[in-house]
């Protein structure tokens, strides 16, 4: 991942990224995609192999159990033969028991080796899965970068072809200020209109001219009270 990010930064600083030119060249991109496919393939194979080995191990375990069962059954037979004084028969059964026990030992050894291979393979699967996730992340960065470059190149071409050319930040700021001023004017106008509608503006004008109806009313009440003093 670090190498991909470094490649992108180096190319950017070098000014390679003119008009959608791919920063990590398409060859590098193809290599990354090939690595991704290889990893996916390896993972699939390893998983199939793992499944086969686990099935084999389970089958071996079954065979071992069956041999052990046979051996213990034969042991009972041998005891019975000894009890009945049939020494020769007991020896024959004992030979069978030895055969079962040898097969158990052989099968157990094979299974032990198999378990080791399974453990190794499980580790390989985990490694492949992690590597796959890494490649996918890298590829995503590379592809997003290319997409952004192509997209901005397309926007630039389009705007230039409309002959309106990409407006400068100063022009944009000017337009923003004009709109904001217009909005402010509208707000002031609607506040004025509201005052007119409610008559608030007339009250203000009368007050400014020293004509305050509220004050007049208070004064007239005071005058009335003074005319009829408390008894």
């Amino acid at each position: 991942m670090r190498s991909v990010l470094n490649k992108i930064l180096t190319a950017m600083r070098g000014g390679v990224n003119e008009l959608g030119e791919a920063v990590v060249d398409s060859q590098g991109n193809r290599i990354l995609e090939q690595e991704l496919r290889d990893s996916e393939h390896e993972l699939k194979q390893a998983k199939q192999e793992l499944a086969a080995l686990m099935a084999e191990s389970a089958s071996l375990a079954r065979q071992i159990r069956s041999e052990q069962d046979s051996a213990s059954k034969r042991e009972q037979d041998a005891r019975k033969a000894i009890a009945a004084g049939q020494e020769d028969l007991a020896r024959e059964v004992a030979e069978r028991i030895v055969g079962h026990e040898r097969r158990v030992a052989d099968l157990a050894q094979t299974r032990e080796l198999l378990q080791q291979r399974i453990a190794g393979l499980k580790e390989r699967v985990q490694r492949a899965e992690k590597q796959l996730a890494d490649y996918r992340r890298e590829l995503q960065v590379v592809k997003t970068n290319e997409r952004v470059l192509r997209t901005t190149a397309q926007i630039d071409t389009n705007i230039n072809s409309q002959k309106s050319s990409l407006s400068t930040a100063r022009e944009t700021l000017e337009r923003i200020r004009e709109r904001q001023a217009r909005e402010e004017d509208r707000q002031t106008a609607s506040a004025t209109l509201e005052k007119e509608l409610t008559g608030a503006d007339l009250d203000e004008k009368l007050k400014a001219a020293g004509i305050d109806s509220e004050q007049d009313a208070v004064n007239s009440v005071l005058a009335r009270l003074k005319d009829s003093p408390a008894q």
């Binding site: 997003t144 952004v148 192509r150 997209t151 901005t152 944009t172 337009r175 923003i176």
Partner: protein, 134 residues
Amino acid sequence: MDIQTLTLALGDSTHAGRTFDVMPIVGEEPVLQVTVSGAEETPVYVTVTDTQILCLVYLFDEQELNPERLSELHENMLRISVPMPLSALGKTGDHYVAYGALSPTSGAAEIMQELVTLAENSIDLLQTFEDYLA
């Protein structure tokens, strides 16, 4: 969410009292220019990829900036990028951009929220960084 669905969804929707004017940008890549009402000066460019919906606003170009104050501007852009709601600051080619990325599974409401926020943020950013223009 693909470009066609988005075009249709934005065309006759309002979000937080805003309407959207959508214009496809001709070319190989599916790109839309979306103008948000009340923030018409900062059109948002939208492109949809497998992994994200990318919304971009051009702020200013490198050659428009006062070269002596460039590192101070960069420092301030980095600092302001973190607390700014939904948008981040970046650079592609010579363009300094404000951008936001959404999951491709985002719905129309999330995308409209992003578009309105990004357009408004961009106006605030332009006015904030005006002093750094040459």
